[in-house]
């Protein structure tokens, strides 16, 4: 008896301690929840009436616990959502899914709106009956605004890009119209100058004193030089504009073609050619021909003082699937301190009397190679020849 009483007393004591611990733990938990100020945490009964309300919820929505407990939670929704039946639909969905993440505009006590992100969890007892819902809500208006700002910003950016593109296209069209005008209208007067100078020359041949004849020759030459300048400028602008048609290009065949075309400039010249077998490359053959014409005619021009000119074309491996092609000569070369200038428009390293030229050829070469995704560079030693390099994609192996 005493023993059983003893046991019973001990059991009662343990249960009391357990209950006290439970109460204490619940109390701690309640305090914790109530104390959370950044998150609105509240409970709803199965019908959606508010049964608890923490500090965070008060901060978020503006209601004191005594004001809101017992009210239906639909008062947090906008009129449109209420009219559309959203509050009850959300709870039904939460019942179906167990937990539900929601986002949307909600209304504070003062009528102001905020963007809420919330988590609804359906609470069930041991038998599975619905006891209510817990709701954790956060004000994410700032994030929402930031997102909206970002969206507006990017659409504004897109609009601006579209505007700029249109402006650029217009400028491009204008440029094309301009080069058309240059091509047509500027060449005509030059033709007239040279034409009438020649007619005058012919008419007055017997009567012209040597100085007047020289003046007429200079006028004619100047007109021709300007015609050449216009043509090469147009060529340069065209190389930047035309659509590239990229194919496999056999550079050796192209070199043969270019050498045939340049043959008239090689009469009375002694030239030692050294052209190695070049790998096929990927490119626009019309544009690459322009590159080779410019490089070879340059080599021919600057080797003209040599009794025997040497012009070599070779290759060496490049990086990332590219090959490096070079054109080497034993011509007059240039000082490496001017190497940055050789590829610039209208940049010339020699006086007109020494070597004729317009200073556009290598600029054209550079533009074409850049459009092919390659690089151009040069090496030289004054008086001992120059080597011009360009890199270009090798053609993929056939088959």
């Amino acid at each position: 008896m005493t023993k059983r009483n003893e046991e019973t007393r001990r059991e009662v004591g343990e249960r009391k301690r357990a209950e006290a611990a439970l109460i204490e733990s619940e109390e701690r938990f309640r305090l914790l929840v109530e104390g959370v100020s950044d998150y609105g945490i509240y409970m709803l009964d199965p019908q959606g009436y508010v049964v608890s309300w923490n500090a965070g919820a008060k901060n978020l929505k503006g209601y004191q616990p005594e004001e809101i407990i017992g009210s239906h939670y639909s008062c947090f929704f906008t009129e449109e959502d209420i009219a559309a039946g959203v509050p009850m639909r959300d709870l039904e969905e939460a019942v179906r899914q167990g937990r539900l993440e929601l986002e949307g505009w909600r209304v504070r006590k003062d009528g102001s709106r905020f963007w809420s992100s919330s988590l609804v969890t359906t609470l069930r007892d041991e038998e599975g009956c619905i006891r209510g819902f817990s709701k954790v809500t956060r004000d994410t208006t700032e994030r929402k605004q930031a997102e909206q700002f970002r969206r507006e910003f990017s659409s504004r950016l897109e609009r601006r890009v579209a505007e700029r593109t249109a402006q650029l296209e217009a400028a491009n069209r204008e440029l094309e119209a301009f080069s058309y005008t240059v091509s047509h209208d500027l060449r005509a007067p030059l033709r007239h100058i040279d034409g009438f100078v020649q007619l005058l020359n012919k008419r007055e041949r017997e009567r012209l004193d040597p100085t007047s004849a020289r003046y007429l020759r200079i006028i004619g030459e100047a007109a021709n030089k300007m015609g050449q300048l216009i043509d090469e400028l147009l060529e340069l602008s065209r190389t930047g504009r035309i659509d590239m048609r990229v194919h496999r290009v056999e550079l050796n065949a192209l070199l043969d073609e270019v050498r045939r075309e340049l043959a008239p400039t090689m009469t009375n010249r002694k030239i030692r050619w050294e052209i190695s077998k070049l790998p096929p490359v990927e490119g626009d053959s019309t544009l690459l021909k322009v590159v080779l014409i410019n490089l070879l005619s340059n080599a021919l021009k600057y080797t003209s003082p040599r009794r025997e000119a040497y012009i070599g074309v070779g290759h060496r491996p490049g990086e990332n699937g590219k090959v490096v092609i070079f054109v080497k000569d034993n011509g007059v070369g240039f000082n490496m301190k001017y190497v940055d200038k050789v590829f610039g428009v209208f940049q010339r390293l020699h006086r007109d009397e020494e070597f004729e030229g317009t200073g556009i050829g290598l600029a054209t070469v550079r533009r074409i190679i850049h459009r092919h995704g390659g690089q151009v560079w040069a090496e030289s030693e004054e008086g001992r020849g120059a080597t011009f390099f360009f890199s270009i994609m090798m053609a993929r192996a056939e088959g």
């Binding site: 005509a188 034409g195 043509d231």
Partner: protein
Amino acid sequence: MNVRRILLVEDNMNDVELTLAALEEHRMSNQVDVVRDGVEAIDYLYKRGAYSDCLHTLPAVILLDLKMPKMDGLEVLRRVKNDLELKNIPIVMLTSSREEQDVVESYKLGVNAYVVKPVAFEDFVAVVKQLGLFWVLINEPPPDAPPRS
């Protein structure tokens, strides 16, 4: 003697004079009729307007400038090549423009040759000689074209 005519369609007087001078180098200048724009060219070919009383035969070749007031060279080209009676007349575009779009458009419309006038007069004389020799003296016109003498 009824020689084969060359119709030169050119609005710029300097160009007319230079072309005639170049043709003269090859003794062909007296075969040239000059009109100053596309509208006149069409009138000449259909013997209308100022040309309604003319007795000329259709030209052996038309040297056509591209850019002209009233009606440009491309329009003249289009009209001639769309006319059953005229379309066999060879047309040479003789122009300053080496713009690709003009070349492409001209060939699309059926031009027989497209020549960019060189700046150097000597070269121009050589070009005109080639054109004159080929189209006037060498080229055999189709049987239904105007008689040769």
